[in-house]
Amino acid sequence: MDRLALDVAHLLAGGLVLVSFMLLYQDRMTGLVNNFALHALVVSLSVAWQAHIQHAPHLYITAAIALIVKAIVIPLALHRIIVQLGIHRTIETVVGIGQTMLAGIGLVALSIMVMLPITAKAGTLTQQDLAFALSVLLLGLLMMISRRNAVSQVIGFMSIENGLILAATGAKGMPLVVEISVAFSILIALIVIGVFLFRIRERFDTVDIHALHQYRGEQL
């Protein structure tokens, strides 16, 4: 495996972390969805590159799925939803952007620290990929908890999924079963989310999950 291959993989994985930060930074709904499309694009590029250097053609499928579903279809759908709901103007963040970014940097540092003790036996690529994937995952979680709006939470969740795909493709020779399962789960997840968003909109006229709280169990 030559040096260039590694560098490109590194670049793409790093790029994903950067886009994750952009997601955290973004406080407009439309921008957020677009950013997410970018996130998915980077993932699909990364997966494709892995397919190339690992000579694992089945990974191209994963890359294609990521590109089509997450970079195109879902962002379009989300655009429609936010326009329908009339929440495309701004999104409220619970914590200030600055603090969120600081916390994000802390998380990245943490994931690198966690990955450090992993022996070189597992391979440099793995080590780096895992550190970045873990960062993306944690940043996605951070996004989920620092946003109040259901759509942005869903986006946070999907960025977690992207991180997972990064990790899965980084693991050399991992059987296809994993990719299928990821795609499968995302598919189901989307269906369910769709159902729920529909229901929630139907019943509450909003997807701000704050509105759900009045129905918390036993709060009479």
């Binding site: 992993i118 969740f157 079963v177 994993v178 399962s181 929630i200 999950i209 759900l212």
Partner: protein, 482 residues
């Protein structure tokens, strides 16, 4: 497929899968309920055969000592719950809470759930198991929200979001396990197969394993309902149909814990990896203590028993975390008996809330007067779940507390006091529910008591006498788990 074991393993998986499709297609509600029972019964019978006819380990499926009893237990509770579900759902139709369309959906989902759980238990592949647990989770999400009341949707949405995060974490852990394995075992399916992983575990990179276990514990721990990952559990139990609460508490939590156990045995086999014990002990103890106090302010009967499930899953996790042959044995037995007891309690609770028309406990009083069978069933169930003899959970709690006290006195005292606090809450509610002047609906219960009686009889017998064969199996597995 000449091996008869393979045939029955296939049956355990295919019967639910096929009947799920069939039930989705059939419109008649009477027939579907019966078919549901029939399918569950056949699955159970096929699973029982696995006790005797064990197939060779395949690439995707495995039947070994650890999972065979879980399979039988799972299909058994699945069967009894389907019987209970028949009478429960009939009442829901009568009262108009569910429409026939939703009923078809319900039955199809029920069998899908069974399929998912059986697959998770039987799979010989960490990835496949992950997919199966996923499937089971998603079906239960849909079933929890089936009443479409705001509270039900809220509960389902919460379950879905928290569950998905748990799924993600578990997947990350699974990938890490593969990464740890593939440099030793080589790439491909073998690096995800249980039998290979356990065998080669000592050679894995311990740092990767540590990280993997952390994610797996948090990921599957969410499904187990360990505090602080538990938030979905009480509401999902409270708002879904009661058969689903029974299956959730009785089976799905077990399946998730089963997954944790599988990974724990890999961890323990690796000398360089950190001991998973302290982590499980802390999470378990935290769950027990937290749930014990949460029980006090509950008004919804199903939510209360949901918290009780958190408590008991905490106990089991605690026991496995303590390790050692006695504690592991107690943990396994506790899991089994808790499934039986808790699902039977939910059967009672389901009928109670139907005859009384409410789940709000202050509105339910004097059950032993107005509905003696249901009332005394509840009394028996609470006594059993509280670990009072002659029921089986006494034995397990006895073993857990005594063995812990000899090693870590402080932990045992905390655990014991938490159990006492929890018992205080349960008994307080039981006093109101079962005794005093009766209140609320007095209509006779159109209940099927057979599942309740069957479960309680098993729990009672287990408390007094364990068959030597079962005993030997439990001890063998307890030894495997270290």
């Amino acid at each position: 497929m000449t091996d008869p074991g393979n045939f029955f393993v296939g049956a355990v998986l295919i019967i639910p899968a096929l009947s799920a499709g069939l039930l989705a297609a059939l419109p008649d509600d009477r027939l579907t309920a019966r078919l549901n029972v029939l399918a569950a019964l056949l699955t159970f019978l096929a699973a029982t055969v696995l006790f005797f006819e064990r197939p060779a380990t395949g690439r995707y499926l495995i039947v070994d000592d650890l999972n065979v009893v879980f399979i039988v237990l799972s299909t058994f509770v699945g069967f009894t719950t389907s019987v209970f579900s028949g009478s429960y759902i009939a009442h829901e139709l009568e009262s108009g809470k569910l429409t026939p369309v939703y009923l078809r959906f319900y039955h199809a989902m029920y069998q899908t759930l069974m399929f998912g759980m059986n697959l998770a238990l039987l799979s010989n592949n960490v990835g496949l198991m992950w997919v199966a647990i996923e499937l089971a989770t998603l079906t239960t999400v849909l079933m929890v929200g089936i009443y479409r009341t705001p509270a039900a949707l809220e509960a389902a949405w919460k379950y879905f979001l928290l569950g998905s995060v748990g799924i993600a974490l578990a997947l990350f852990g699974t990938i890490l396990v593969y990464l740890a394995a593939h440099s030793v075992v080589g790439e491909g399916l073998d690096a995800m197969a249980w039998n290979v992983l356990v065998k080669r575990a000592p050679e894995f990179d311990p740092a990767l394993l540590n990280l993997a276990f952390l994610f797996l514990l948090l990921g599957y721990g969410t499904k187990v309902g360990l505090v602080p990952l538990h938030a979905w559990l009480p509401d999902a139990h409270a708002e879904g149909p009661t058969p689903i609460s029974a299956v959730l508490s009785g089976l799905l939590l077990n399946v998730a814990l089963f997954a944790v156990l599988r990974f724990k045995s890999i961890m323990s086999a690796n000398p360089g990896a950190f001991a998973p014990g302290p982590l499980m002990v802390s999470l378990g103890l935290l769950s027990v203590v937290f749930a014990a106090f949460m029980l006090y302010r509950r008004h919804d009967i199903k939510r209360m028993f949901g918290y009780s499930s958190i408590e008991h899953m905490g106990i089991v996790t605690f026991a496995f975390g303590m390790g050692g042959p006695l504690a592991n044995f107690a943990g396994l037995l506790h899991m089994t008996l808790h499934s039986l007891t808790k699902s039977a309690i939910f059967y009672c609770v389901g009928h109670i809330s139907q005859v009384k028309g409410t789940q709000h406990m202050p509105d339910i009083r004097g059950l032993t007067v107005s509905h003696p069978a249901l009332g005394w069933g509840l009394v028996f169930g609470v006594a059993a779940i509280a670990g009072l003899p002659p029921m089986g959970l006494f034995m397990t709690e006895f073993l857990i507390v005594t063995t812990t006290f000899a090693r870590h006195p402080l932990l045992a005292i905390v655990l014991g006091l938490a159990l006492l606090v929890a018992f205080g809450a349960l008994l307080l509610r039981l006093n109101g529910l079962a005794f005093g002047d009766p209140d609320g609906g007095r209509a006779p219960a159109k209940a099927s008591f057979a599942p309740v009686v069957a479960h309680f009889a098993l729990v009672l017998v287990a408390g007094i006498w364990l068959p030597p064969a079962l005993m030997a199996w439990f001890q063998h597995v307890a030894g495997l788990l270290r």
